[in-house]
C-alpha cells in the first residue's frame, strides 16, 4: 500500500488548559480533495496547522508522507515542509515586501535559482493568478480578492504536492469568491496536487471536494463523499449543511454555536 499523504492518529490538542481537538484519526490519500466544514472557533484552522507541522499535537502522531513532523528536523524536515503549500486564513502576506517579493521569498529561501530566474517564476505566478499589474505594489495597497490571489500564488511558488487552503473565500463577495474557487480548481487540474480546504460555503465544498470532514465538539467527523455527506446520519452534519436554526448544534447544552 502506498504511503498516505497525511495520517493523524489519536491526535489531541490542548491550548492553555482547554482541549481543542481530541481522538482525531484521519487519513488523506494522494489525489484526495478534502473540504473541512464546521462552526467557527471549533478548530478547523488548528487542524490545518497540525497537518502542516506548524502546531505540534499535545498527544498523538501526525505523519506527513510517513514522516513525523515533530520528530524530524534540519534538511529532512525541510524536504517534507517544502512540499506543503498553505494559504492562511488572514493571508499572512509579508506587509514589508512587495507582492512580487512575497512570491520571491520562498524561492530565495529554498531554491538555488538566480535572481533572473526568480523574477521569471514570479512573473509566471502573478500571471497565473491574474495580478501581474500588482508586482511592485505592497499587499495593503491591493483589494481583498487580490490579496487572496497573491496568497495562493505564494503558497504554490515551491510547487507543493500538498496544498492547504484556510477559508479561501471568507470575507469575499460571491462573485470574487466564485473566481477564487475557480482559480483553485484550475490550478489543481494543472498540477494534480492533494488539496485540503476549510470552507463554510457548502456550494463551494460540494464543487471542489471529493471528501468532507466536519470539525465539531472537539472531534473531526469524516462524513465521506459529497453524496454520503448529503445523506449523513449525524444530525449535527445535517443541521450544518442545511443551515437549520434548530438542532443539536444550537441546543443549549451543545455550545458549538451560541451567538
Amino acid at each position: 500500500m502506498a504511503l498516505a499523504a497525511i495520517n493523524l492518529s489519536d491526535v489531541k490538542v490542548i491550548f492553555e488548559g482547554s482541549t481543542i481537538l481530541e481522538n482525531v484519526n484521519l487519513t488523506v490519500q494522494d489525489g484526495d480533495s478534502v473540504a473541512i466544514i464546521g462552526p467557527s472557533g471549533q478548530g478547523k484552522s488548528v487542524l490545518l496547522k497540525i497537518m502542516a507541522g506548524l502546531v505540534l499535537p499535545t498527544e498523538g502522531k501526525v505523519l506527513v508522507r510517513g514522516e513525523n513532523l515533530s520528530e524530524i528536523s534540519g534538511a529532512r524536515r525541510q524536504k517534507v515542509v517544502n512540499k506543503i503549500g498553505m494559504l492562511f486564513q488572514k493571508n499572512a502576506l509579508f506587509d514589508s515586501l512587495t507582492c512580487g517579493d512575497n512570491i520571491a521569498f520562498p524561492l530565495r529561501e529554498v531554491t538555488d535559482l538566480d535572481e533572473q530566474q526568480i523574477q521569471k517564476v514570479v512573473a509566471e505566478f502573478l500571471e497565473a493568478v491574474g495580478i501581474s499589474h500588482a508586482k511592485n505594489l505592497f499587499p495593503d495597497e491591493i483589494s481583498g480578492g487580490m490579496q487572496k490571489r497573491l496568497g495562493i500564488a505564494r503558497a504554490l511558488a515551491l510547487n507543493p504536492d500538498l496544498i492547504f487552503y484556510d477559508d479561501p473565500t471568507a470575507g469575499l463577495d460571491p462573485i470574487t469568491s466564485r473566481k477564487i474557487i475557480d482559480l483553485i480548481l484550475r490550478l489543481r487540474a494543472q498540477n494534480s496536487a492533494t488539496v485540503v480546504a476549510v470552507t463554510n460555503d457548502m456550494n463551494r465544498a460540494y464543487q471542489m471536494a471529493s471528501r468532507i470532514w466536519m470539525v465539531v465538539d472537539r472531534q473531526v467527523v469524516d462524513a465521506g463523499s459529497v453524496e454520503q455527506t448529503k445523506q449523513h446520519q449525524d444530525l449535527r452534519i445535517q443541521q450544518f449543511i442545511t443551515g437549520a436554526i434548530r438542532g443539536p448544534l444550537t441546543a443549549p447544552d451543545s455550545g458549538a454555536i451560541n451567538d
Binding site: 496547522k49 492562511f88 521569498f105 520562498p106 529561501e109 529554498v110
Partner: protein
C-alpha cells in the same frame, strides 16, 4: 488563598520561558548565519527612532541630579564637589535605570507590537511554512540590533547627562564649567564607569530578550497584541530593577576583590 500566590507562579513560569527562549535564540545564532543587511537595517531603525528621546531623557536626568545635589550640598559649602557627586550618582545608578525605562516604553513596546502583529496575522507561521526560520529571519536581527543600539543609546544618554548636569550646575547652582568638571575624575573612578557600562549592557540584553519573546509568543488577535505591549513594558521595568540590584551587587563584589588584590 492560593489566588494571591498565582501572580508569583506566573512570574516564575514566564521567567522560565524567557530564559528558554534566550537559549533557543543562542542555539539558532550558533547554527545559522544572520543577515548583516537585516541587522543593520534594525540597528538604524532603533537608533534613529529613539536617539532624540534618549538624549532628552539623559540630559534631564543629569540636570535633575545636579539640582538635587545642590540643595543638599549648599548648606555644607561643598558645592565644589557638585560635578563629581552628581555625575557619579547619575552614571552609576539613576541614569542607566531611567534611560532603560524610556527604552522599555519605546523600543520594547514597538518591537513587541511588531512581532506580535506578525504572529497574530500568521506571518510567522507563513515564514516557517515557506522553508525559513522566523527566529533567524525576524527575531535574531531584532534582538542583536536592540542590544547594540540600546547599549549605544544608554551611553549617549549618560554622556548627555553630564552635559545637562554641567549646564544646570552653572545656571542653577552657580558652579562654573571648569569647577564642575574638575572633580569628576577624582570621584568618578574607572571601576565605576565600567560598572555603569556593564549595567547598560545587562539592561540592553534584558530589554531585548523580553520584548522579542513577548512579541513572538503573542496569542489572541489584535487584543493580544495590546496585551503583549503592556506586558512588555511592565515586565521589562520590573526585570531591569532586579537586574540593577544584581549588577550593583556584582560590581560591588568585583570592586572589593579588585581592591584587595592590589
Amino acid at each position: 488563598m492560593m489566588a494571591i500566590f498565582q501572580p508569583f507562579f506566573n512570574i516564575i513560569s514566564e521567567t522560565g520561558r524567557v530564559v528558554q527562549f534566550f537559549f533557543q535564540m543562542l542555539d539558532v545564532w550558533k547554527r545559522k548565519s544572520i543577515s548583516r543587511d537585516l541587522m543593520f537595517e534594525q540597528i538604524w531603525k532603533v537608533t534613529v527612532q529613539s536617539s532624540a528621546t534618549t538624549a532628552l531623557a539623559g540630559f534631564f536626568v543629569g540636570a535633575i541630579m545636579t539640582v538635587q545635589f545642590t540643595m543638599e550640598m549648599k548648606d555644607f559649602g561643598a558645592l565644589g564637589y557638585l560635578g563629581g557627586l552628581s555625575t557619579s550618582g547619575t552614571i552609576r545608578e539613576v541614569g542607566p535605570l531611567l534611560i532603560a525605562f524610556m527604552l522599555a516604553g519605546k523600543v520594547g513596546a514597538f518591537t513587541s507590537a511588531e512581532l506580535g502583529t506578525m504572529r497574530v496575522t500568521e506571518q510567522i507561521d507563513a515564514i516557517r511554512c515557506l522553508g525559513a526560520d522566523p527566529i533567524q529571519e525576524l527575531v535574531l536581527p531584532r534582538f542583536i540590533a536592540i542590544v547594540i543600539s540600546s547599549f549605544f543609546l544608554l551611553g549617549l544618554g549618560l554622556l548627555l547627562s553630564i552635559f545637562g548636569g554641567m549646564l544646570l550646575g552653572k545656571y542653577f547652582s552657580g558652579v562654573n564649567y571648569e569647577e564642575y568638571l574638575r572633580h569628576i575624575p577624582t570621584i568618578v573612578s574607572l571601576p565605576s564607569i565600567l560598572s555603569g557600562l556593564f549595567k547598560c549592557f545587562v539592561f540592553a540584553v534584558v530589554l531585548a530578550v523580553i520584548c522579542t519573546h513577548r512579541g513572538y509568543s503573542t496569542t489572541g488577535g489584535a487584543k493580544g497584541v495590546g496585551r503583549s505591549v503592556v506586558q512588555t513594558a511592565v515586565s521589562t521595568m520590573v526585570a531591569i530593577v532586579i537586574a540593577d540590584w544584581a549588577t550593583s551587587l556584582l560590581a560591588d563584589i568585583a570592586l572589593k576583590i579588585f581592591l584587595r588584590s592590589r
